[in-house]
């Protein structure tokens, strides 16, 4: 194949894929009865509604202390779920990683726990746990905890596998014990990635906590739900705004921490 025919075949490939994507989009909207044009056409109307109703007013600002209190509760719960989840995920990932795994059975167990807790969405966990623990903050905490364990175990296993094996070999040759090797050769190498994942998990958990809170009746999610159902849209706007602000602040903080440690 020379250059010319290759270029031509590239071009046909591109055209084919573009047509395929357009075809798939049209087909799926036709099957589900969803009209794209109509959807786009109503956007300005929706925007106008948001602008006219979701305004932060003087009256809603009076509710700020309660909102902030609930927001803080949510943030602290997310952090607690992440830190405890980290502790469990750390040991599971030691079992699951090829570098530090001791027995195959443990590895399979760790990977099973990780994928089971990760592949069920946090909202589903919240609903499942709601049945046994009822509407309180423990349920919300547990839902976030389970999700964190699943995600962090997976992320940690990859970080540990990526870290170079060579230092592990060297320490094994000096007669070091298993936990000496883990804490002095593996952890120092994975630390930046691990902290990065933990910070990411805290961000994700704050976002998820809002959703979980609506279901479990706790934290900022509950406040949001309450105002929403009583048609107090101004307060809803304030709640939404404060959540956005909190997430951005946490994100900036974690970006800064990442820069410092790496």
């Amino acid at each position: 194949m020379n250059e010319k025919t290759m270029k031509a075949s590239r071009k046909w490939q591109t055209i084919f894929f573009i047509l395929l994507i357009i075809g798939m989009t049209l087909a799926s909207s036709a099957i589900t009865g969803f009209n794209i044009i109509h959807g786009i056409a109503t956007l300005p109307k929706a925007g106008a509604w948001i602008l006219s109703n979701l305004m932060i007013t003087q009256e809603s600002l009076e509710r700020l202390p309660t909102i902030l209190e609930k927001l803080l509760e949510t943030i602290l719960m997310s952090i607690a779920a992440t830190t405890t989840g980290t502790a469990v995920a750390f040991f599971l990932s030691l079992m699951g990683s090829k570098t530090t795994g001791t027995k195959k059975v443990f590895g399979v167990f760790a990977r099973f726990v990780a994928s089971a807790s990760r592949n069920i969405p946090v909202v589903a966990w919240a609903l499942i746990l709601l049945l046994s623990f009822g509407q309180n903050s423990v349920t919300g905490y547990l839902a976030l905890f389970v999700g964190s364990v699943g995600f962090l175990t997976r992320a940690f296993i990859e970080s540990i596998d990526e870290a170079s094996q060579s230092a592990v070999e060297a320490l094994r040759a000096t007669g070091a014990t298993y936990f000496q090797i883990v804490f002095k050769a593996v952890v120092p190498q994975c630390m930046p990635q691990m902290i990065s994942w933990i910070l990411f998990m805290i961000e994700t958990n704050i976002r998820n906590a809002t959703l979980v809170g609506i279901l479990t009746g706790t934290g900022i999610g509950y406040t949001f739900d309450l105002y929403y159902k009583t048609l107090n849209y101004n307060a809803v706007a304030l709640v939404t705004f404060s959540i956005i602000l909190a997430v951005i602040v946490i994100e900036l903080m974690s970006n800064y921490i990442r820069k410092v440690i790496i």
Partner: protein, 260 residues
Amino acid sequence: MPLLQIKDLGKSYNSDAKVLQGLNFEVESGEFLSIIGPSGAGKSTLLRCINRMVEIDEGKVVFDGQEVGKLNKKELRKVRTNIGMIFQHYNLVPRLSVIENVLHGRFGYKTTIQGVLGRFTEAEKEHAFFLLKKLGIEEHAYKRCDQLSGGQQQRVGIARSLIQEPKIVLCDEPIASLDPNASKVIMDHLKSITQELGITCIVNLHQVEIAKSYSDRIIGLNKGGIVFDGPSYRLHRNHTDQIYGTQTQATPEIRELIMV
């Protein structure tokens, strides 16, 4: 009684291909022994059988009166404290400081908790600084290892093995990633380990000339078997041809590459 005895040692990673086969030799205390051979001859595997970093399949390795293959976990750790190891890629923890990496050599003498918390005695720290000074990298003690040059990192590796107070040091191609100057520094240090401290050295090498000029004795490996074992002055061209499977007349350029 010799420090190290290897009897009928055999090793295969998968059932059909044998990496090592029927190896027999003894190493006396204070010897400087080089092992030469082409890539894939089993040099690294042989070295790792001595401290059982790879499991021994056939035969036995007797180190300091103990059969290495029969030890349980705890006994094996104890034996490994007496065996230092130096690697081609230095195998340091790159994000930790030089002094921390040197002190890692003491873990074999510590309980898990002491090691994890990094509790080292004053004597151990002084010993670490003494070794760094001796190797000429004292001023880098608090630098992170990834900021050091290859030669300097290898000297950290030597310090880490010496702080174990070993009876033998196994060196797996210690100079294969270094330039000639750094190589000379490292080989000189290894030589002085044997001469001054009386510690036995087994060095895997690719460079025949360096092996000849530094070691007391050379073992030539080819396809998992010993094809030469004797004092280094006895190693001649016909031996190296046999070890590397080259013919002097037919391929002079390959020979030159090996001899450099």
